[in-house]
């Protein structure tokens, strides 16, 4: 079988960074080709070149047997390559159908054929298993998962031979991922090739056919069989060392008994999101919240943080009642929140990595409002190193960082002294395997220093492996609470989905 896509010697130089340095990629028709690599390895850059969004400095692309040069995205789309980008690229003010067909509208004499488009959009969405999303609804009103599905529908709306997906599962929960895989299988059946990027290796094993590994802008391995290559080998190809997907050791069960509560939440309710949630986090303890997308985990921690107002219930930090409604008070009391959507909720895109890190604790480097810039700079430098942010330069604009490295900058923000409680919402979203292990170690170390951690993650193994205690949520209510060691993944999934384990 001849290759559908052949990329050879692709070089892309960004000012100051050689993002790609001679990358090769071969993709066959009808296969799921996985692209792996650490954060900043150049995966997104490579597929943007393929999509015509970037122009390569060197290298050739052969698609369907012909050498091609995509001057712009439309050229790539016309040749049959559709792309789902890592950062969502939808227009909030347009309807679902309009987004799906943006740039490719069905029209007669310039007038859009809205009925035709809505019908076609409904079909596409149904094919993706989301017939409940109405094509006429404004995209801005959808959740992140909904938007991801619209992005997918958009890729499918073209007559394509190759679909590129850049971390499509990052915003999806377990059941959604299953759905996604079903669609991918359907596509490959029809002979469409899929390039799939993800940091979740178990997904690769489940859906992938072959794997290409990138490291520091070079191809580290080509065409490895996805199912048979041992994880350790993939990881060492990616990182250049042997990192195991391990969690740091945690204290013995009951080690936290008797330590004072950092956080006590009683009967907290936000209508339509969650009701009557009570929980506590002790000093030095990591408490995990498991649940489906939409089970209200994010809302809970945001409410604890004071970013939302509850209609009932109270939040106590170290015995003191926290008055709701002010995030600045929460920060002063020693809380920290790493929110779910880094771009919308956390990052100051215009600013440097360093300033992004220090913004929350600015008061720490200031006297009477006067910033001590040396202290600030030193902290930034230290945290960039601790979190292994690459490139390790705190003056770099945060927007030039790869997705995973941006995520690390968000977490670094709260690694300053004086935190008593950290609220982490999907802290490893988009972070590569190697970095994850380090991140887990950092979180555990914070806990060992006495910080309480409330952790939300859609990856059940992560919750089970990192947390001391786990709360399972369904439809806004806590349905189970136990020591993490007493649970395993199937059981948690069972509870999440059915509630039968109760």
């Amino acid at each position: 079988m001849s290759d559908l896509l052949v990329m050879r010697g692709i070089v892309k130089q960004f000012p100051g960074v050689r993002a790609l340095d001679g990358v090769d990629l071969d993709v066959r028709a009808g296969e799921v080709h996985c692209l792996l690599g650490q954060n900043g390895a150049g995966k997104s850059t490579l597929i943007k070149i393929l999509a015509g969004a970037h122009r390569p400095d060197e290298g050739t692309i052969t698609f369907g047997g012909e050498e091609v040069q995509f001057a712009n995205p439309i050229a790539a789309i016309r040749s049959g390559i559709a792309t789902i980008y890592q950062e969502l690229d939808l227009v909030a003010g347009l309807s679902v159908a309009e987004n799906i067909f943006l740039g490719n509208e069905r029209s007669s004499y310039g007038f859009t054929r809205r009925n035709g488009m809505n019908r076609a959009a409904a079909e596409l969405l149904a094919r993706l298993g989301h017939g409940e999303i109405r094509p006429t609804i404004e995209v801005g009103r959808l959740s992140a998962a909904g938007m991801q599905i619209v992005s997918m529908a958009r890729a499918l709306s073209h007559d394509v031979r190759l679909i590129v997906m850049d971390e499509p599962s990052a915003a999806l929960a377990h059941d959604e991922v299953g759905n996604l895989f079903r669609v991918i299988r359907d596509l490959t059946q029809e002979g469409v090739a899929v390039v799939y990027i993800s940091h979740r290796l178990e997904e690769i094993r489940e859906i992938g056919d072959r794997v290409t590994v990138l490291k520091d802008g070079r191809t580290a391995a080509v065409g490895l069989p996805a199912r048979d290559t041992p994880t350790s080998r993939v990881v060492s190809l990616m990182t250049g060392r042997d990192v195991e997907y391990v969690f740091p050791p945690r204290p013995a069960p009951g080690a936290h008994n008797g330590r004072p509560d950092v956080l006590r939440v009683e009967g907290l309710t936000v209508p339509k999101h969650f009701a009557d949630v009570s929980l506590s986090v002790r000093e030095g303890e990591i408490v995990g919240l498991a649940g489906l997308v939409g089970s209200g985990r994010s809302e809970i921690i945001e409410t604890v943080y004071g970013a939302r107002r509850p209609t009932a219930g109270k939040v106590m930090l170290a015995g003191e009642v926290v008055r709701p409604g002010s995030t600045s008070r929460a920060v002063r009391l020693g809380m920290g929140l790493a929110p779910e959507e880094r771009k919308a909720q956390a990052l100051l895109m215009n600013e440097s990595v360093g300033r992004n890190i220090t913004i929350a604790g600015l008061g720490k480097y200031a006297r009477l409002g006067w910033v001590d810039r040396r202290a600030e700079r030193e902290t930034a430098q230290r945290l960039v190193k601790t979190m292994d942010i690459r490139p390790p330069d705190h003056r770099r604009p945060v927007r030039t960082l790869s997705g995973g490295n941006q995520q690390k900058a968000v977490l670094a923000r709260w690694l300053v002294e004086g935190r008593r409680l950290l609220l982490l919402d999907e802290p490893t979203r988009g972070v590569d395997v190697g970095a994850r292990a380090e991140l887990y170690a950092v979180i555990r170390q914070l806990a060992d220093e006495g910080v309480g951690v409330l952790l939300v993650s859609s990856e059940v193994p992560e919750v089970l492996g990192l947390a001391d205690r786990v709360l399972v949520l369904r439809e806004g209510r806590v349905i189970h609470e136990s020591d993490a060691r007493e649970l395993d993944e199937p059981r948690v999934l069972d509870m999440i989905m059915e509630g039968s384990a109760l």
Partner: protein, 352 residues
């Protein structure tokens, strides 16, 4: 700059970002207003606040000036007054939804009116005068568009430069005189004096521009893409839209509207003058924004802009009917704007 940037400390919803209404339910949603928004009708909920504000003003009119306010001639007069800025507002709505701003509208209108009323142009009769106005407007708009899309200038600065230069050019051409529409070209003035079904012709021009603008914005690919270009230019580019060309056309469109407005102002004042349209840019932008269009682009409606404009026009009308002096007019106008906006906010909030 906009609603989206209005801080919302302590509001219950953490996720409310630009364009995200509070408490959007996961994946699917239950908002019914959305479907309506696609229809874009006057009666829809998003314009409720504006309609209420208009109604309140009308009530005030009925109470304070019972004999004069509700007369048909007063209504006609309000519409005729609104029609100049109205036409400009349509173009401005496009530009602002497309993520830009046009400060030069008043100046372009003045230039077009002056050019169309030069003796040389007037020789060719009213049709050529009208065409001239439209061409001058469109041409100036194209220059704006080029500077912004291909010269990559900030719209605020590029159109400010155009404002200054167009007024200067208008003054040069007219030698700072007010140029009367000649005896042979009264067809232009007839637009204002001739009535059809009780309405001056220029009101029909206004209505036509609004209707066409609405159709283009809501029913054509060009219109829909304007939202994309303004709301997320990067996404628009990745979707294969030629963002630069689109932007260019948006400014040309705004210029075209200024040209049409120039015809109307010539009809109403029987003159072309470099002083026409002073500060129209502020009025038009204010109308657009009060009508719910985001200054950051990507969202907005023509109906909203027109309602916003009618509120402004009605306020002035009421003041004069009641013989308020200018100072009091200004104070009252400031208060009314605040109240109208707070009203609209309230009506939006209570839709939850």
């Amino acid at each position: 700059m906009t609603d989206a940037r209005a801080p919302h400390d302590g509001t219950p919803d953490i996720r409310t970002g630009p364009g995200r209404p509070q408490d959007a339910p996961p994946v699917a949603t239950r908002r019914t207003a959305t479907a309506a928004s696609v229809l874009g009708g006057i009666g829809q909920a998003r314009h409720l606040g504006l309609v209420v504000a208009l109604a309140l003003l009308a009530v005030v009119g009925l109470v304070t000036a019972p004999e004069t306010f509700a007369t048909s001639s007063n209504m006609v007069s309000i519409l005729a007054l609104a029609s100049t800025i109205g036409v400009i507002t349509v173009g401005m709505t496009f530009v602002i939804i497309g993520g830009g701003i046009d400060l030069s509208v008043g100046a372009i209108m003045a230039l077009a009116s002056v050019w169309a009323t030069t003796l040389a142009t007037q020789e060719y009769g009213p049709v050529v005068m009208a065409i001239c106005a439209v061409l001058v407007g469109t041409g100036a708009g194209l220059v704006n568009g080029f500077l912004i899309s291909y010269g990559r200038m900030v719209p605020f600065i590029a159109t400010l430069a155009m404002l200054v230069a167009a007024r200067g050019l208008a003054q040069r051409m007219s030698d700072r005189k007010t140029q009367l529409v000649g005896q042979d070209n009264t067809a232009i003035v007839d637009l204002s004096t001739t009535r059809l079904l009780g309405l001056p012709l220029l009101v029909y021009i206004f209505a036509l521009v609004v209707a066409v603008g609405w159709l283009v914005l809501n029913r054509t690919t060009f219109g829909r893409r304007t939202y994309a270009v303004g709301g997320n230019p990067e996404a628009a580019r990745l979707a294969g839209i030629n963002v630069r060309r689109h932007t260019l056309i948006l400014y040309a469109l705004s210029g075209l509207c200024c040209g049409i407005a120039a015809i109307i102002i010539m009809a109403r004042t029987t003159t072309g003058s470099s002083t026409h349209g002073d500060l129209y840019e502020l009025d038009a932008i204010a109308a657009v924004i009060i009508g719910g269009t985001l200054l950051t682009g990507g969202r907005g409606t023509i109906i909203g802009s027109i309602l916003g404009l009618l509120i402004f026009t009605l306020i002035t009308n009421l003041f004069i009917l009641n013989g308020l002096n200018t100072s009091d007019q200004l104070i009252a106008k400031g208060l009314i704007i605040v109240i109208a906006v707070l009203l609209q906010r309230r009506s939006l909030d209570s839709r939850t």
